[in-house]
C-alpha cells in the first residue's frame, strides 16, 4: 500500500523527462544547422536595420545564445559527470528523478534557488557578493572568441589567443576575493592556493599556446583553425598530428595545465574536501554557490574548447565540419577530464608546484623551441 505513491511519482518524472531529452536532441539539431540559422538571422537584420545596428544586434543575439548555452550546459554536464563517476565505481548514480535521473540537475538547481542566501557575520559583504560574479564573468567573457564555425564567432579578435590567456586568469581574482571576503580560514587557504596554482600554470599554458602560434603565424583563433583544414579525411593537418609528435607532447601538457587552471582533479587543491571543507566557496550557499559551480563547468568546457581549437582542428572536423563536430569534440575532451577526475588522487601542494615548475615548464619550452626550429628549417 505504501508503494503506490512512489510508483506514481516515478511515472510522472519519467513523463517529465521526455521534454528534457527532446530538448537535448533539439539542441544537437540546432548545432548542426547553426551556420544556416546564423545566415538567416544575418540576412533579416541587414535587410531591416542600418549596418551598425545590424552588427550590434547580431552580436547581442550571439552573446545571448552563448550565455544560454553556458548556463544550460552544466545541467547536462553535472548529470553526465555523476553518471560517469557512478559507473566507474560500479554504481548506477542518479536513477530516481526522471528517466535515468536526467531531471536530477533540475531538482538540484531548484533546491539551490530556494536555499537561504547566507552571508557570514564577519564577512566583507561587498567583496563577498562581488566575487562569484567576477568568477562567472571571467569564464563567460572568455567564450567571446571561441569560434563555432566559419565566420560564426562573437568577436573575431586578431589577438584572440592573447585574450584567452588574459581573461582566463580573471577567475583567480574572483576566487581569491571569495576566499578573503568569507572571513574563514578554510576559504582563505583555498583562495590562496587557487591563486598560486593559477599563476603557476599560466606560464606553461601560455608557452604551449605560443608553440602553436609559432606554427601558424597568427594569434587569431579562426586563422589557427584555417591552418588545420584540408589533408586526408580533414584531420591530417590537425596540429596534434604535425611536427613529428612534438605537438602530442604539447597537447598533453596543455590538457594537464587546463585541468589545473579549472581546479579540476587531480589539481582541485583549492577546494580539497578532505582538508579545506570546500575551499573558497565554504561560506557560500544558494545561488551564489551555484554561480561558482556554473563557472567551474563553464571553464571546463572552455578549456576543452581551446584545446580543440589549438590541436584538434576546431570546427573543421574529421569528415564533417561545423558547430556540431566542434561541440562533440569538446564533449570528448570533457569526458576525458571527468575520466581523469575519477581515476587519479589529489596531488599535494608541493607535488603540484613541482609538476608545474620542474616538469611542465621545461617541457613547454622544449616544445616551443622545437616548433620554432621546425618552422625556421621548414621555411
Amino acid at each position: 500500500m505504501g508503494l503506490q505513491r512512489p510508483a506514481l511519482e516515478a511515472k510522472i518524472s519519467n513523463l517529465l523527462s521526455i521534454p528534457v531529452v527532446a530538448g537535448a536532441a533539439g539542441a544537437l539539431v540546432v548545432f548542426a544547422l547553426l551556420p544556416q540559422i546564423a545566415e538567416l538571422i544575418r540576412e533579416q537584420l541587414s535587410a531591416n536595420l542600418s549596418p551598425t545596428m545590424a552588427k550590434l544586434a547580431a552580436t547581442a543575439i550571439g552573446v545571448g545564445a552563448v550565455v544560454f548555452l553556458i548556463t544550460q550546459l552544466p545541467i547536462f554536464l553535472i548529470w553526465w559527470e555523476r553518471k560517469i563517476a557512478a559507473h566507474i565505481q560500479d554504481r548506477l548514480g542518479p536513477m530516481r528523478v526522471g528517466w535515468h535521473g536526467v531531471l536530477q540537475s533540475f531538482a538540484d538547481g531548484m533546491k539551490l534557488l530556494f536555499k537561504e542566501d547566507i552571508i557570514a557575520d564577519g564577512a566583507d559583504r561587498f567583496l563577498f557578493k562581488l566575487a562569484p560574479f567576477l568568477v562567472v564573468m571571467g569564464v563567460f567573457s572568455a567564450f567571446a572568441v571561441l569560434p563555432w564555425a566559419d565566420g560564426l564567432v562573437i568577436s573575431d579578435l586578431n589577438i584572440g589567443v592573447l585574450y584567452v590567456i588574459a581573461i582566463t586568469s580573471f577567475g583567480a581574482i574572483g576566487i581569491l576575493m571569495a576566499g578573503w571576503a568569507s572571513n574563514n580560514k578554510y576559504a582563505l587557504y583555498g583562495g590562496m592556493r587557487s591563486a598560486a596554482q593559477m599563476v603557476s600554470y599560466e606560464i606553461p599554458t601560455a608557452i604551449i599556446i605560443l608553440s602553436v602560434v609559432v606554427q601558424v603565424g597568427s594569434l587569431n583563433l579562426q586563422d589557427i583553425i584555417a591552418a588545420q583544414q584540408g589533408g586526408f579525411g580533414d584531420f591530417q593537418n590537425w596540429f596534434i598530428f604535425r611536427a613529428w609528435g612534438l605537438n602530442v607532447i604539447g597537447f598533453v601538457s596543455f590538457f594537464i595545465c587546463g585541468l589545473a587552471e579549472t581546479n579540476r582533479n587531480p589539481f582541485d587543491i583549492p577546494e580539497a574536501e578532505s582538508e579545506l571543507v570546500a575551499g573558497y566557496h565554504t561560506e557560500y550557499s544558494g545561488m551564489r554557490f551555484a554561480l561558482f559551480f556554473l563557472a567551474e563547468y563553464g571553464a571546463m568546457f572552455f578549456v576543452a574548447g581551446v584545446a580543440v581549437v589549438l590541436f584538434l582542428g576546431g570546427w573543421s572536423g574529421p569528415v564533417f565540419s561545423g558547430p556540431l563536430v566542434f561541440f562533440l569534440k569538446i564533449l570528448a575532451i570533457v569526458f576525458v577530464q571527468m575520466w581523469i577526475r575519477w581515476t587519479l588522487p589529489r596531488l599535494r601542494v608541493d607535488q603540484m608546484m613541482a609538476l608545474c615548475w620542474k616538469y611542465l615548464i621545461p617541457i613547454a619550452f622544449v616544445v616551443l623551441m622545437g616548433a620554432a626550429v621546425l618552422q625556421v628549417s621548414g621555411g
Binding site: A86, H87, I340, T343, L344, Y359
Partner: protein, 179 residues
C-alpha cells in the same frame, strides 16, 4: 638526470594504467540494487519470500527471534553493542515438563521478557553468532518504517512471568464473572 626522465615514464605509465582500470569499470556490471524494483520480497512476519538475487547474500535487516528455541542464555544481550536487547528469565521448576530446543538442548529457563528495540539496533549481526540454538536471526525484511518510535520495541516473549507466591492467608475466592 636519468631519474628526471624516468619520472616522465612513471607518470605516463601509471596514469595510463589507472585510466585503463577505470575505463574497464565504466562498462562493468553495476552492483547497485534499486530500492523500488518490481521484484519485492513478500513481507510477512517471520516468513519472507525473497526473489532470487534481489538481496545481497549477507544482507542484514530486521531481527527475529524464534522463541520456541530460546534457552535464555543471555549471550545475545551481553554481546549487543548498543544494548537494544533486554531479556529477563526465570528458572523453570523441576516439576515442569522438560522441553527442548530444536537442536536438542534442554531449556532450563523460562524467558518472560525478550524485547528488541529496532530503533536502536545497528544491524551489526553480532547477536546472531553466539546464539547456541540459532534462534535469533536476521530476516530479509527491510521495509518496516513506523510513524511512532515506540512501535519499534518488539516484544518476542510468549511466556508470562509466574505471578509471585500468593500470601499465606487464604483469600476468598472471587465470584466468577458471568459469561
Amino acid at each position: 638526470m636519468k631519474e628526471y626522465f624516468l619520472d616522465f615514464w612513471d607518470a605516463v605509465s601509471s596514469t595510463a594504467t589507472g585510466m585503463a582500470i577505470t575505463l574497464r569499470h565504466l562498462f562493468m556490471k553495476n552492483e547497485t540494487q534499486q530500492y523500488l524494483s518490481d521484484e519485492k520480497p513478500e513481507t510477512r512476519w517471520n516468513s519472507v519470500i525473497v526473489p532470487e538475487g534481489l538481496l545481497q547474500d549477507r544482507s542484514r535487516m530486521r531481527l527475529y527471534v524464534k522463541m520456541e528455541d530460546c534457552i535464555g542464555c543471555l549471550q545475545c544481550e551481553k554481546v549487543c553493542p548498543v544494548d537494544c536487547i533486554t531479556i529477563s528469565t526465570e528458572k523453570r521448576q523441576k516439576t515442569e515438563l522438560p522441553i527442548f530446543a530444536a537442536n536438542g538442548q534442554g531449556i532450563k529457563q523460562r524467558v518472560v521478557q525478550f524485547d528488541i528495540d529496532m530503533s536502536l539496533c545497528c544491524y551489526c549481526n553480532l547477536c546472531v553468532y553466539p546464539c547456541p540454538t540459532d534462534c535469533i536471526v536476521m530476516t530479509p525484511e527491510y521495509e518496516f518504517a513506523e510513524r511512532d518510535k515506540t512501535n519499534f520495541l518488539y516484544r518476542f516473549a510468549k511466556d508470562k512471568a509466574t505471578p509471585p507466591e500468593p500470601p499465606e492467608e487464604k483469600k476468598e475466592a472471587e465470584p466468577v464473572a458471568a459469561g
